[in-house]
């Protein structure tokens, strides 16, 4: 073992103990290193190294299993989140059918007015007939009630037929 690491020990010691003592300090260090080099420490036995390598291998295997477990769980969670996101977004952005505008009905105003006039006329006639009918039933106008009634019914039927003809 050597301690040559390109470090300028003399310069380093000079900053702390001054130039006079720096050389002595460097010499102490070198001689101390020499003692350590003269008595090398024992090394690890081959069986110890084999045991350590086996232990390292076992630790690596356990670690990879531990890494794979959480990783697969994370992937599953991410996939679930993704699927839910896709489903939600599909529903959210799904095209709703455009509101159908109410069907336009062609109103013929003039025609309506004419029909209103007819309706008013028919209503007036019906009121008149009803009033006549009531008078007949009560015999107020001194006529032959039965014949008049028949005549009125025929008249009513005609009016009704005209009404439905338009």
């Amino acid at each position: 073992m050597n301690t040559e690491n390109n470090e300028d020990l003399k310069a380093l010691f000079e900053t702390f103990v001054g130039p006079q003592h720096a050389e002595d300090a460097v010499d102490d260090i070198r001689r101390g290193d020499q003692v350590l080099n003269e008595y090398p420490a024992p090394g690890p036995g081959p069986e110890v190294l084999a045991q350590i390598k086996a232990q390292v291998r076992s630790t690596l295997e356990k670690r990879s299993k531990r890494t794979f477990g959480p990783l697969s769980r994370k992937i599953a969670a991410a996939a679930a989140v993704l699927i839910i996101g896709v489903v939600v977004s599909l529903r959210f952005f799904e095209r709703k059918p455009a509101p159908v505008p109410p069907a336009t009905i062609p109103w013929d105003v003039e025609n309506l007015r004419a029909q209103d006039a007819d309706l008013a006329q028919f209503s007036a006639e019906i009121e008149q007939i009803e009033s006549d009918l009531l008078a007949l039933q009560l015999g107020e106008n001194g006529s032959n009630g039965h014949a008049d009634l028949t005549e009125l019914e025929i008249e009513l039927m005609e009016i009704s037929g005209d009404f439905w003809k338009g």
């Binding site: 690491n5 260090i29 001689r31 003692v35 690890p44 110890v48 390292v56």
Partner: protein
């Protein structure tokens, strides 16, 4: 392809979790790291345990290595492993002392002598305080500069320099006795 390229490939392999690359890393650094642990503990069993602990820790931490001098990073991890072991040892020593005071005869029976012969250097190293011993061994086995050692230990460079200087001087004196 140069040695640096080969080593970069090994490191990339380790970071990718390749067992073969870790085996190469173990072959490359086991001896130096073992020496570091042995000189700090003076115990082969403890050194075996610490070396194993170190490489398992490297498997777990290798992705945190972001380039720069690999030895600096490696020995920082090794230093942490040693400190954890030291704390545990202190805790056990306290427990043992407490046990001894409660069951003196039983504890004496359990004491066993160290079966490994301690070399002369180790015997003298044990006379240095643990902090000085550690900084000397960190420099010797990691080949870090004083600047890197100071940064790793979180102390001023002058402190690391003084500890190594005084420690090596004392060690040489002890060895010459």
């Amino acid at each position: 392809m140069g040695k640096n390229d080969d080593f970069s490939r090994i490191l990339r392999g380790c970071q990718a979790g390749d067992p073969r690359s870790f085996e190469n890393l173990i072959d490359e650094y086991a001896s130096r790291c073992y020496g570091y642990f042995y000189r700090l503990t003076g115990d082969r069993d403890a050194s075996d345990e610490l070396l194993s602990e170190l490489f398992v820790k490297l498997v777990l931490k290798i992705k945190q290595y972001r380039g720069g001098a690999f030895e600096t990073w490696l020995f920082k991890v090794a230093s942490n492993v040693f400190h954890d072991w030291l704390r545990e040892k202190h805790r056990q020593t306290k427990l043992l002392k407490a046990q001894k005071s409660r069951f003196p005869s039983e504890a004496a029976e359990n004491e066993q002598p160290d079966i490994y012969e301690i070399d002369k250097l180790q015997a003298q190293l044990d006379k240095l305080d643990i902090d000085t011993r550690e900084v000397i061994m960190l420099r010797f086995y990691s080949q870090m500069s004083f600047k890197e050692i100071a940064a790793t230990r979180g102390e001023p460079i002058g402190t690391s320099l003084a500890k190594v200087h005084r420690g090596l001087k004392k060690l040489r004196e002890l060895m010459e006795q």
